[in-house]
């Protein structure tokens, strides 16, 4: 095992221990104690707006395949989709979901169908509409732009793994929909997200949906663990800088 592997293994073990401690520490946390993330407040209002107006809520989950490095972004975006689908299905509606990757399409379709089944309210329910658009970035962007142009979309939510095509879809959304919310972790895409969204999930905020929207204890615990590790890394950087400066 080389030095990098030893360091990564150490980090992994520290994180797991901190996560387990965080899981039990955060059981008594109250939402008022968390840092407010404007995009999540805005999302709740946007869902209500789509329900009130009876127009579609479109969610696009990006094009991060579940078996590549972008899988975590896709899993995080699925955490954003779940509460949206839950909320809408209580009123008999379902979101219009699109993806730019086939494996992610299967995950999205599965999630939406399960939520529809589990929250059957007796009301007539809309059929889930989950579409795989295509596998190439430009064609994916063209597909989303077409949906925003032709279908009656009130709220457009775009979270997950994207490239430069985000700006094409984002600008189409700015011109066509009532409320647009975005989220990405790729630094090169963040300017596009900020300039085209009413509220944005930037960087690590994308991974907090499970904690903020569903209040899942393990997700809250991982937020605590992330904070602890961030402080540890910051202190470590400072210590190394001081040692290197003095020696």
């Amino acid at each position: 095992m080389n030095e990098t592997q030893r360091m990564l293994l150490g980090l992994l073990l520290v994180f797991i221990v901190t996560l387990v401690i965080g899981r039990y520490r955060t059981a008594r946390w109250r939402p008022a104690e968390w840092r407010a993330i404007f995009a999540f407040d805005r999302l709740n209002k946007a869902i209500q707006r789509a329900i009130e107006q009876g127009r579609a809520l479109h969610v696009t989950l990006g094009r991060g395949s579940l078996w590549t490095g972008a899988a975590m972004d896709s899993l995080a975006s699925a955490e954003v989709l779940r509460p949206i689908a839950k909320h809408l299905s209580l009123t008999g509606q379902m979101p219009l979901v699109t993806t730019g990757d086939a494996t992610l399409h299967l995950l999205a379709e599965d999630q939406v169908h399960r939520i529809r089944r589990s929250l059957a309210t007796g009301l007539p329910q809309a059929k889930p509409d989950v579409r795989w658009l295509t596998a190439t970035p430009t064609a994916y962007a063209a597909g989303v732009m077409g949906i925003l142009a032709r279908e009656s979309v009130e709220v457009n939510v775009m979270t997950g793994f994207f490239g430069a095509e985000y700006l094409l879809m984002g600008e189409a959304g700015v011109q066509r929909v009532g409320v647009q919310l975005g989220g990405a972790s790729e630094p090169a895409v963040l300017p596009f997200v900020v300039t085209t969204s009413r509220a944005a999930l930037l960087g690590e905020e994308l991974y907090t949906a499970g904690a903020y929207l569903a209040h899942k204890p393990w997700h809250l615990g991982s937020l605590w663990a992330q904070d602890i590790l961030r402080w540890l890394i910051a202190v470590l950087v400072l210590v190394v800088v001081i040692i290197n400066t003095l020696l």
Binding site: E109, R114, R131, T138, R150, T195, G203, E204, H215, Q226
Partner: protein, 216 residues
């Protein structure tokens, strides 16, 4: 219940084995991990077939329903069938005909769509340049300095502008980007570990017993 147990065990077992392969130098473990990754790639390829089926079904339904978008769906279905047929007849994606199709149909269309990015960047920048609070004012000041510093006219106006531009890139921008990357890395790690430990199970049906997944 048994199905859920099997799914979780398989997912955790496979994930931990592949992770262990990164840390342990063992030939047999390496072979096993490579085999598992190979199987995952085959499963991912099947997902593409299912995606294709979804796409075809959606557009066939639209044609049958005589929706106003029927012509677009017809074009898509014809192009899809033609490309697949051509691929099979001509000898696969690397054949001369398929390469011709890519170079003369797909690539120009992609380039045309990407060319819109230049115009969209201008409109997005125009919106971003509206000053409505301290942060946006700072943003505009930094953006103007960088824009002038990037162009020859900036150096003519004030010779220090390119140096200031370089400092903005090397210090605040780099520091901010590293901060974002650090947060993203920790978020990715957290998501990965939750899946690996079986805490998050997107592959099993939990909606019926998800007591914590209450609505926000």
């Amino acid at each position: 219940m048994l199905g859920r147990l099997v799914s979780v065990s398989v997912a955790m077992g496979v994930g931990l084995l592949v992770l262990a392969d990164y840390f342990v130098a063992d030939v047999q473990l390496d072979a096993l991990a490579n085999r598992l990754i190979y199987i995952a790639s085959i499963v991912a390829a099947f997902a593409l077939f299912l995606g294709l089926a979804n796409l075809t079904r959606f557009h066939l339904n639209r044609v049958r329903a005589r929706s106003p978008e029927r012509p677009y769906s017809l074009i898509l279905l014809i192009a899809l069938t033609a490309s697949i047929t051509l691929g099979f007849v001509s000898g696969g994606p690397t054949s001369q005909w398929m390469q011709y199709l890519f170079e003369n149909v797909l690539s120009p269309m992609q380039a045309a769509l990407y060319s819109l990015l230049a115009f969209f960047t201008v409109t997005a920048t125009y919106r971003a340049f509206r000053v409505h609070n301290v942060e946006s004012a700072l943003f505009v000041i930094f953006a103007v300095v960088v824009l002038l510093g990037q162009t020859p006219v900036g150096a003519l106006l004030w010779e220090e502008l390119p140096t200031i531009k370089d400092w903005i890139f090397d210090v605040p921008v780099l520091a901010g980007t590293r901060g974002i990357l650090l947060g993203v890395a920790l978020g990715t790690l957290a998501t990965g570990i939750r899946v690996l430990l079986g805490v998050d199970r997107p592959y099993v049906d939990e909606t019926g017993r998800d007591t914590h997944g209450h609505l926000p």
